[in-house]
Structures are given as structure tokens and as C-alpha cells.
């Protein structure tokens, strides 16, 4: 009888073993194997700089990519900007450079911005792109809320255009030193001839015919949840793209996309590759990894408005107890930059190198002892106000890296007598606890939580004010309920500081203040790592903080800023 059972199991095992054995030898060939993934290449030199068709993978559908329908900030916005142009464009260092605007000049207090639009730019439909289109676009976004772009332009008071000089003048209500980065390099310019007819963009139905932009690519085909096909715009004003056709394939999840790039079915993954895949993928056939700093953040939040987190000693001790380097090494396998306690990424020009992460559990324990958080009952857990320091660390289950961060953090905090239970919950539940109703005026419903901000907030350094200022109108992203008068004063002042040098001094000081007062624990800035098949195309541009998903990656070098 045992034999009879054994047979099917044995067969199964044999099949698996066979597959396992064959894998080692097959690995080398799989990149060219697979099905239907053959991409036509036009040159055979090492590292392709031109391709007729490039297949890129993204995770999750982005709907019909136009300013009112695209879904995610990344890579949705990046795909949007394949079709549209902004007035300025980030360069490889993440600095805004003139783009549709040939020149950008501003007055002394940075309230009036004058832009000269490049002459002779045409829309995909052949109409000329004029200063009036720019004015129309900005006014349209201000009038018809989109969220992101409306907010970018919230400081704009007036826009005028002059078609004869092809100039646009934007007047701001207040000094906004980062207007170029926040708005000019972010807002897509849309054609008046298309959008003037759309009164309520929120309810309009879109198809490819509305996707008229001026960018290097035109959307020609879209199958929901399946793929986007972009064709190159040969008349692009900065020069024709090096890739004739860009097919963006939608995957349900990372693993599908990874399987596809390994099997050669796609040529580049627009989504970041998780750290553990980097080495594996890099060793495969023509696969290469583009790696560089990015501005997303990983951090630990706590409700600093209530005990015991309202006590600086507790916050400081937690920050000392958490070994950010260990998290970078273990969770990110080194593919991340250790977080600066002053928030600002070390690659930023205004980074204060004096602010350094510290890991010192002994000091942390001493600090807690001094502050009176003793473990009176000897169970290994300290008490505060008679309560054990036992807390729930809430994290979103859909992010496995965060889950691991939470697990490790709990382990580290146990060393200083805090009993942390990790609660992994639905993303929406987690958001609702940390940021109820997405409005900090609703308070907070958590003790400790994993958190992270997307790149734009780090990209524009002064936005740190939104995170740390206790005035809700400024610090509307102050999710930890942190409040410190010095931080408040300084961050508010810096928001309107027009003088570059003064701003720099101030921001250095602010970093120190933040590090001293611990509004949150900074863990890491994960690196961007993007896998691509160099046999198909390799001339990607890694924009600091943005990754490779941008039109720059497909433009000839001469066209890049």
C-alpha cells in the first residue's frame, strides 16, 4: 500500500527534481527563451542605444493616462509625462532645467516667474504649442481640481501669456522658492484645442484621441489592465526618441513582471526591483540593473502627542535603539541609504553632514532609566504611568519590506524594554489609523507605525515643514502630532525664504533641530534599482530621486539637459 501512495508522490518529486536540475543549465539561456518576447534590435553593439520596440513592465493599471485619469504618482505620473511636457524638466541630478520654457526668469522675491516658451513646438495633432496653451493649462488645472496639479499651483495668483513673444508670466501670492521644482517641473501642459471642450474632466470619458500631448511619445493603443502602446513622436522638439515603440505591459504584481523580464518577455521593469532580486537579476544574460539614490523614505512614526511618546527621552531612546544600518543591510540587502535623522537625503545639496544617525542601545537604556521609565516588576518591560510600555506597531500588510522592518524594529525596541507587537493590517486600515480621513485634524489612532513618504516630499527639501510644523495649515502632513516651538518658527520662516544662502543656513539648522527632537525615526532611503535588458536597450538616464522612468531615458544624449 505504501508503494501505491508513494508512486504519485515519487513522480511529482521526480518531475520537480528534474526541473530543479535543469534549471542551473537553463538559466543562461532563458533570457532568450520564453515566448513572443523577442524585441527587435537595431544594433548589435554592447549596450543598445536604439530599439524599434521596447517592452516595459509596470504593476497595476494606470487607466487612460491623462492628467485627470492616471492613478499613481509613480509610475503613473512618469508615464503621463512621456506624452506631455512640463515647462521645466529634472536633469540627472534631480534639478529642474528649462524644457518647454526656453528660459525661466524670476524677480527678487521669487513671486513673478517669466517663461519664454520654445518656438515651433507642435502638439501630436500638428497644432502649434503656444504660450496661450500654457496659460490655458495652468488656469485649467487651477479651476478644475486634479489634486496634485492644483496643489502645485495653489500659490499662483495670476497667469498671463503673450503669443507674439511666446512668453508666459506667472504671478505668485507669496514667495515660493521651490516653485520651479514643485510646479514648473511637475505640471503637464495640455492642448487648449482638446481640453477647452471638456467642462467637467472628472466625468468626461477619455480615449486615445484625448491623449494629445507634446511629449516624445503618443499613446496609440490601450487595453485596460493589459498594456499601453506608445509610438515615438518623430517631430519631438528636442529630437526624435531612440526607441520607436514603447509597450508598457501591466502586471498584477511584482513577481509576474520579474518572471517576464527573466524570460525575455519584457525588456525593462519600470517598477523598482526589490533588493533581493538585484543580484539574482544582474547575473542573468543581458539583464542589468540601474541603481541610484531615490527620495522615498522609510521611517517609524509614533504618536508624539501622547504619553509616553510626548517625552523626548522616549523618542530619543527609540531612535538610539533602532539600528538603521542593520535594517538597510537585512531588509534592503544594502540597497538603501541609511536615513538621516534630520530627514534630508545625503545626496541633497542642502544635506547637513553634521547630523548623523546614532545607534547606541546602552545610551538609550540609560536615557530611559534617567527619565524614570523603570522595569519595576522585572518582566523585561519598562513601565510608564504604571502601565507597561507595551505597544502595537501597525504596518500595512501589502508591503512586505515594511512588514520586515516592523519585525526588526520590534526586536530592537525589545532591547530597551519596550514590548512591541506587530500588527499587520490592510493598507486602508493602516492609513486610517495613522492618518484618519487623510486629514491630520482628525487626530491619530496609533501608537507606533511604519510609514514612508513618496519622493516629491523629499525632492523639495522645504516640504519637511509640512511634516514637522505643528500648525495644521503648514504642517498638514504632521502625522506624528509633533510639536516644537523652535522647529515651528524655523520651518515656517524657511518656507518663504527667498535668499538662497539664508535658506541654506536655515535648513542646516532645521535638520539639527529635527534630529535633536525626533519627530519620527528615520530609517532609510531605499535605492532605486531598475532592471533592464541591455541587449535590447541600455541608454537609460537615472534621475536622482526619480529613477529611470522618464522621457530622458529615451531621448538621444544630445537632447537631454
Amino acid at each position: 500500500m505504501k508503494k501505491r501512495i508513494a508512486i504519485p508522490i515519487l513522480l511529482l518529486c521526480l518531475a520537480l527534481v528534474a526541473a530543479a536540475c535543469s534549471s542551473d543549465t537553463d538559466d543562461a539561456t532563458t533570457t532568450t527563451g520564453g515566448d513572443g518576447g523577442s524585441s527587435d534590435t537595431t544594433t548589435t553593439t554592447e549596450g543598445m542605444t536604439e530599439a524599434s520596440v521596447l517592452r516595459a513592465a509596470i504593476t497595476g493599471d494606470e487607466d487612460t493616462i491623462n492628467p485627470y485619469t492616471y492613478i499613481s504618482g509613480f509610475p503613473g505620473w512618469n508615464l503621463l509625462m512621456m506624452q506631455y511636457d512640463s515647462l521645466m524638466q529634472l536633469d540627472a541630478n534631480g534639478e529642474p532645467q528649462p524644457w518647454l520654457a526656453e528660459t525661466v526668469t524670476t524677480n527678487e522675491d521669487l513671486t513673478v516667474w517669466t517663461l519664454k516658451i520654445v518656438d515651433g513646438v507642435t502638439w501630436h495633432d500638428g497644432e502649434p504649442l503656444t504660450a496661450e496653451d500654457v496659460e490655458f493649462s495652468l488656469e485649467y488645472f487651477m479651476e478644475k481640481a486634479t489634486g496634485r496639479f492644483s496643489r502645485d499651483l495653489s500659490s499662483v495668483e495670476d497667469v498671463t501669456s503673450d503669443d507674439t513673444t511666446n512668453e508666459v508670466v506667472i504671478t505668485l501670492g507669496a514667495t515660493n522658492p521651490s516653485f520651479d521644482l514643485v510646479a514648473l517641473a511637475d505640471v503637464p501642459i495640455i492642448p487648449e484645442q482638446v481640453w477647452a471642450e471638456i467642462d467637467t474632466p472628472g466625468e468626461a470619458t477619455y480615449d486615445i484621441s484625448t491623449n494629445v500631448g507634446s511629449g516624445p511619445y503618443m499613446l496609440v493603443e490601450y487595453e485596460a489592465e493589459q498594456f499601453y502602446r506608445f509610438e515615438a513622436n518623430p517631430d519631438y522638439f528636442r529630437g526624435a526618441p531612440q526607441v520607436d515603440e514603447l509597450v508598457v505591459v501591466v502586471f498584477a504584481d511584482d513577481s509576474g513582471a520579474l518572471a517576464a523580464i527573466r524570460s525575455g518577455e519584457v525588456d525593462v521593469n519600470f517598477e523598482r526591483v526589490s533588493p533581493e532580486q538585484i543580484d539574482l537579476l544582474a547575473g542573468q544574460g543581458g539583464l542589468e540593473i540601474a541603481q541610484g539614490p531615490e527620495f522615498t523614505t522609510q521611517m517609524i512614526n509614533f504618536d508624539a502627542s501622547k504619553a509616553p511618546f510626548d517625552d523626548l527621552a522616549v523618542r530619543k531612546a527609540m531612535s538610539l535603539a533602532i539600528d538603521a544600518q542593520d535594517i538597510v543591510d537585512t531588509v534592503f540587502l544594502g540597497a538603501a541609504t541609511v536615513g538621516s535623522p534630520g530627514w534630508v537625503h545625503p545626496d541633497k545639496a542642502v544635506y547637513n553632514p553634521a547630523v548623523q544617525p546614532e545607534f547606541d542601545p546602552a545610551a538609550a537604556n540609560a536615557m530611559l532609566d534617567d527619565a524614570g521609565y523603570a522595569d519595576s516588576d522585572g518582566d523585561g518591560v519598562r513601565e510608564y504611568d504604571g502601565e507597561p510600555m507595551a505597544f502595537e506597531l501597525i504596518t500595512n500588510s501589502s508591503d512586505s519590506l515594511r512588514l520586515r522592518i516592523a519585525e526588526l524594529t520590534a526586536e530592537m525596541l525589545a532591547e530597551i524594554g519596550m514590548d512591541i507587537t506587530v500588527a499587520s493590517v490592510e493598507t486602508a486600515t493602516w492609513e486610517e489609523a495613522v492618518w484618519p480621513g487623510f486629514d491630520i485634524n482628525n487626530g491619530r489612532n496609533y501608537d507606533i507605525a511604519t510609514w514612508g513618504w513618496s519622493a516629491p516630499i523629499q525632492a523639495n527639501t522645504i516640504r519637511v515643514a509640512e511634516l514637522v510644523n505643528s500648525d495644521p495649515s503648514i504642517g498638514f502632513l504632521n502625522l506624528t502630532g509633533f510639536s516644537n516651538p523652535d522647529v515651528d518658527t524655523l520651518s515656517a520662516a524657511l518656507l518663504t525664504e527667498a535668499d538662497e544662502a539664508a535658506f541654506e543656513t536655515g535648513i542646516m539648522e532645521l535638520q539639527q533641530l529635527i534630529a535633536d527632537n525626533v519627530p519620527f525615526v528615520m530609517l532609510a532611503y531605499p535605492d532605486g534599482a531598475y532592471v533592464y535588458n541591455a541587449d535590447v536597450y541600455s541608454d537609460y538616464e537615472f534621475i536622482a530621486g526619480q529613477g529611470i522612468v522618464s522621457k530622458l531615458s529615451f531621448l538621444p544624449d544630445s537632447a537631454r539637459p
Binding site: 501505491r4 515566448d35 499613481s72 472628472g202 493589459q226 509597450v247 505591459v249 498584477a252 490592510e426
Partner: protein, 323 residues
């Protein structure tokens, strides 16, 4: 006049009502804020007024009862609304997804029905013999396979290691295949999901067929057939198989329902753009209208499958015909 298959209509109606009510209530009882999905990631950058506007626009501020009534109205007029997440009409999303799920579930069902019936029948005919016992053991083992694991292994082996089949999707993305080439492409993509579902479905069909056959083999009328002088082959095909098939049809309906629901897992593993993936995305994304609609379609599909079985049963078994 024969009226067949209607005996369970009230039951299905009840299921439908319960399903509709349940799928209206459940998502609303869940924690989390749907706003993020309606407005996208930039919700945090909106002003409270903008948020309120959106909430009013999608009717989330109405009393639950009003929402409930509106929901019923919408369901009955096939107006399933728009996705919070993508803003697309849900009917469109579902009609896009449904054929894929049907392709792999019906495909696997047909394959597993044929294999299961043949093996089950063979096994019962050879009852107690070696073939029967080893097949039986094998089937019980297959039943214990975790579906997603099987899918993962198949991808690992046949897509990644051997590269025989594509590992994801329903078609080669953006391919310009036409006609037969496209059919071939679709089939190539469907093979691994169908194989997974089929492997999982076969044991049930097999067991049902085998037991049903044994039941029939033991009945008196088989002896009558033999007493008439019918050969074993004739007994097998003319009497045993024919009579044993009716319960299998019922089982296939149940299995269809199960496979259809099981597509949630299979389609997630294979990144297959069907209804299962849609509901999984909608659930984790709190896309109320999509989740409701997808769940509803699942329920309706299951009811239809049961109805079909109810309609078929009397065809196969005249005793079930109501005069």
C-alpha cells in the same frame, strides 16, 4: 407540459438577495477609507472641501438605507457604477475580464470532466483492482495540493526554468496577432492556468464519477441488463455510464462554481486578467463598487451554473422531471 428545473428557483432568488445584501454591507463594514482610491495617492494633498465634494459625489454621505436602495436599483438595471479607483464603468471592466475567467474555468472544467469521468469510470469498473486503488490514492493526493503552490511550481518549472510557456497574462502584450495566431497565443497563455485548475478539479470529478458508478453498478437494473444478455461493454456504456453521469453533472456545476471562485488565487498567481484578479485587487484596494459588482457576478455565475445543472439533471434523469 414539462416544467423543469424551476424547483430551486426560490432558493436561487434567496441566494441572490443575500449575496446582493451581503456584498453591499460587507465592504461598508470594513475599516478603511475609500477616499484614497477615488482620488488617488494625492488625496493627502487635497483640501477638506475637495474631499467632502468627492464623498458627496459618490454618495458615501447618504444614509445607509438610501445607499442600499440605490444599490438595488442599480443592480437590477445592470448599472454597476464606476470604479472608485480608475473611474471606469464597471460593466465594461467586468465584460473585459469575464471572458478570460470563463476561458480558463470552462476550459479546465471540460478537460477535467473528460479526464475525471473516464478515470473515475475506469476505476469503478476495475473496482478493488490495482489500477483502481492506485488511481484512488493518487486522486486523494491531488486533492491535497495547495492550488497556489501548484501554480507557483508550474511557473517556476515550465515558464521560468524551461521557458515552454509564458508565465503571465492572457495574451502576448501588444502583439499584433490576428486570427489563428492570436488563438494560438491565447491558448499558450491559458495552458498553465488551465492545467492548474484542471489538476485541482480532476479528483472531485473522478471521485463523484467513481462513487456514482459504483452505486449504479450495484443497482438491480444492471443485473436486469445482464439478464437480457447485454455484453459487459453494452452494460457499461448503455446503462452504467449513462446512469452514473447525472450526479457528475451536478458535481460539475458545483465544481464550476468552485473553480470560478478559485480563479481568485489562480489568476493572482498567473497574473491572469480575469475576474478573480479583479476582485482581489478590488478587495485589497477597497474599490467598493468593483468589489460589489465582481462578487455579484461571481454569485450570478454560480447560480447560473446551478440552474444549468438543474436544467440538465432532468434531461439525464427522467425521474427528476416534474409533470
Amino acid at each position: 407540459m414539462r416544467r423543469i428545473g424551476l424547483k430551486n428557483l426560490d432558493r436561487y432568488l434567496l441566494v441572490f438577495v443575500v449575496a446582493v445584501s451581503l456584498n453591499f454591507l460587507l465592504p461598508r463594514l470594513m475599516p478603511g477609507n475609500p477616499l484614497a482610491l477615488i482620488a488617488g495617492v494625492d488625496v493627502g494633498l487635497m483640501t477638506p472641501d475637495e474631499r467632502a465634494e468627492i464623498i458627496t459625489a459618490v454618495g458615501l454621505d447618504e444614509p445607509l438605507l438610501t445607499q442600499f436602495i440605490d444599490y438595488w436599483k442599480a443592480v437590477l438595471t445592470f448599472d454597476l457604477g464606476f470604479s472608485y479607483k480608475s473611474g471606469r464603468p464597471i460593466v465594461e471592466m467586468i465584460t473585459e475580464r469575464l471572458p478570460w475567467t470563463l476561458l480558463i474555468t470552462v476550459g479546465s472544467l471540460m478537460v477535467s470532466a473528460v479526464i475525471g469521468i473516464v478515470l473515475g469510470g475506469w476505476s469503478a469498473w476495475r473496482r478493488g483492482k490495482k489500477t483502481d486503488l492506485s488511481m484512488l490514492t493518487g486522486m486523494i493526493s491531488l486533492q491535497s495540493l495547495p492550488s497556489f503552490w501548484l501554480g507557483m511550481l508550474l511557473i517556476s518549472v515550465f515558464a521560468v526554468q524551461l521557458g515552454w510557456f509564458p508565465s503571465f497574462g492572457a495574451e502576448t502584450p501588444a502583439s499584433s496577432y490576428e486570427g489563428m495566431a492570436r488563438v494560438g497565443d491565447i491558448l499558450e497563455h491559458a495552458i498553465l492556468p488551465i492545467v492548474t485548475l484542471t489538476v485541482l478539479s480532476i479528483p472531485g470529478v473522478y471521485m463523484t464519477m467513481r462513487y456514482s458508478m459504483l452505486e449504479v453498478l450495484g443497482s438491480d437494473f444492471i443485473r436486469t441488463a445482464r439478464a437480457k444478455g447485454a455484453s459487459e461493454r453494452r452494460v457499461l456504456f448503455g446503462h452504467v455510464a449513462r446512469n452514473a453521469i447525472a450526479p457528475v453533472v451536478t458535481f460539475l456545476a458545483i465544481r464550476f462554481a468552485f473553480a470560478f471562485g478559485g480563479s481568485v488565487i489562480i489568476e493572482t498567481v498567473f497574473s491572469y486578467p480575469g475576474l478573480g484578479r479583479l476582485i482581489f485587487e478590488a478587495v485589497s484596494g477597497r474599490d467598493y463598487p468593483v468589489m460589489q459588482a465582481a462578487f455579484l457576478v461571481f454569485t450570478v455565475a454560480v447560480i447560473v451554473a446551478n440552474l444549468v445543472a438543474d436544467l440538465l439533471y432532468p434531461v439525464l434523469d427522467p425521474r427528476m422531471r416534474v409533470e
